[in-house]
């Protein structure tokens, strides 16, 4: 099966993700795929969940923090400004405290806590995670293409959804138990506690957001996750390990794309020994890849003779990838 057949055969797969180790071409393939779908009349949003996003680089224009930016007809690209999102979120929390209690200023201790939260290592990822929910909930596009973070982070991202989900379930349960004690005391004292419900409502809201995001990551009907790899020993081993881990998280792996394959016809030409050795090495590893992943390999992408940046190069690659 080819990449084209996968898209044509499964039009209900609207959430497309390319994952793999850093520097293997996730952004390139995401952009190429988005470009091809858009040129076939689909409305596509390509967005980055990487704090070090590189969509601006590949499209050679600054789209950072500007919302969905139109690139070509039917294609929009978006890079989330996580820092700004965190700042706005912190201000929102401060304002809520002021409004709720009529304070002139947020108590120092609380304010320090809010400020310190932005230094948490998980904050940036969480903010992006949350932004993705906003992007997806709007549902304006036929396809959502995730430009993912490198593998290790992607696993963290996936496990975060699971951890958050379990955490929220536990504290929601605790909160509900607290409500039971409250009701006992309130019935006897004829009191009502409005705040309880608000916290529970917040928890349910948070739960809804986390579920929206993690359900998509594990949706076998609407989601397709493609691994990008190159014919190199370490990468093959890592990809294999990651694929096992991803399946443990119930991520629907739709296939593998082998990138940076040196054109074998080069062998017929007068080439230096160095290049000859590299081609021989790749040949060996391509055999290995075929043995491991078999018919799940959807495409072999040739090593291009220059950087894949800018629309003409993306178009050229799309032609090769989807023939």
């Amino acid at each position: 099966m080819s990449l084209r057949e996968v898209f044509e055969g499964y039009p209900e797969r609207r959430y497309i993700m390319f994952g793999g180790k850093g520097g293997l071409g996730k952004t390139t393939l995401s952009a190429t795929c988005a470009f091809w779908l858009a040129s076939h009349g689909k409305r596509v949003l390509l967005f980055s969940v990487d704090p070090q996003a590189s969509l601006s680089d590949i499209f050679q224009r600054d789209i950072f923090g500007k919302g969905p930016v139109p690139i070509v007809p039917n294609l929009w690209a978006q890079e989330v400004d996580a820092d700004r999102r965190i700042r706005e979120y912190q201000d929102e929390i401060r304002k809520k405290i002021l409004d709720m209690y009529g304070f002139d200023r947020v108590p120092e201790e609380i304010d320090n806590y809010i400020s310190a939260a932005s230094a948490e290592p998980a904050m940036e990822e969480s903010a992006i995670f949350d932004a993705v929910v906003d992007i997806i909930v709007q549902g304006d596009y036929d396809y959502y293409i995730y430009d993912l973070v490198p593998l290790g982070h992607a696993l963290y991202y996936l496990s975060m959804a699971k951890v958050y989900d379990e955490w929220i379930n536990k504290i929601t349960k605790l909160r509900e138990e607290m409500g039971q004690y409250d009701r006992v005391a309130a019935t006897l004292r004829r009191q009502e506690n409005v705040e309880e419900d608000k916290i529970l409502q917040e928890l349910l809201y948070i739960k809804g957001r986390i579920n929206a995001s993690s359900q998509i990551l594990t949706d076998k009907v609407r989601t397709a996750f493609f691994f990008v790899l190159v014919p190199e020993e370490m990468i093959i081993l890592d990809t294999r390990k990651a694929a096992e881990l991803f399946s443990r998280f119930d991520v629907p792996v739709a296939g593998y794309v082998v990138n940076r394959v040196l054109p074998p016809e080069l062998e017929q030409e007068q080439i230096p020994v160095y290049l000859k050795n590299r081609i021989a090495m790749q040949k060996r590893h391509l055999e290995g890849i075929k043995n491991i992943f078999g018919n799940q390999i959807l495409a072999y992408v040739p090593e291009m003779d220059r950087d894949v940046t800018g629309l003409p190069m993306i178009e050229k690659l799309a032609e090769r990838l989807f023939t």
Partner: protein
């Protein structure tokens, strides 16, 4: 002013009701309120552990809950950080 602080009317019947309440449900109510307070502190610890330097989980979503527990934060910290001795268990 809450209901229980208002001067109660109803004469001898009300006095009888209060006595029955005191004998039967008062202890239960007190227990419920105390358990509820302990759970509240547990809840804040789980969600706002960072405030004590105990980062339990990423704070992004727990920040959303902060406004609702703001008034309880200082009593909670006092309770969590105070020294404890044997008499605590008798309380």
């Amino acid at each position: 002013m809450t209901d229980e602080n208002k001067p109660k009317k109803g004469g001898i019947f009300q006095v009888f009701k209060d006595i029955v309440y005191g004998m039967s449900s008062h202890e239960m109510t007190r227990h419920a309120v105390r358990s509820r307070a302990s759970m509240e502190h547990l809840f804040i610890l789980i969600t706002m552990g960072d405030l004590l330097g105990v980062p339990i989980l990423p704070p992004y979503y727990s920040l959303r809950l902060l406004p609702y527990v703001t008034p309880q934060i200082s009593t909670w910290k006092r309770r969590m950080l105070r020294e404890r001795d044997i008499t605590d268990t008798l309380g």
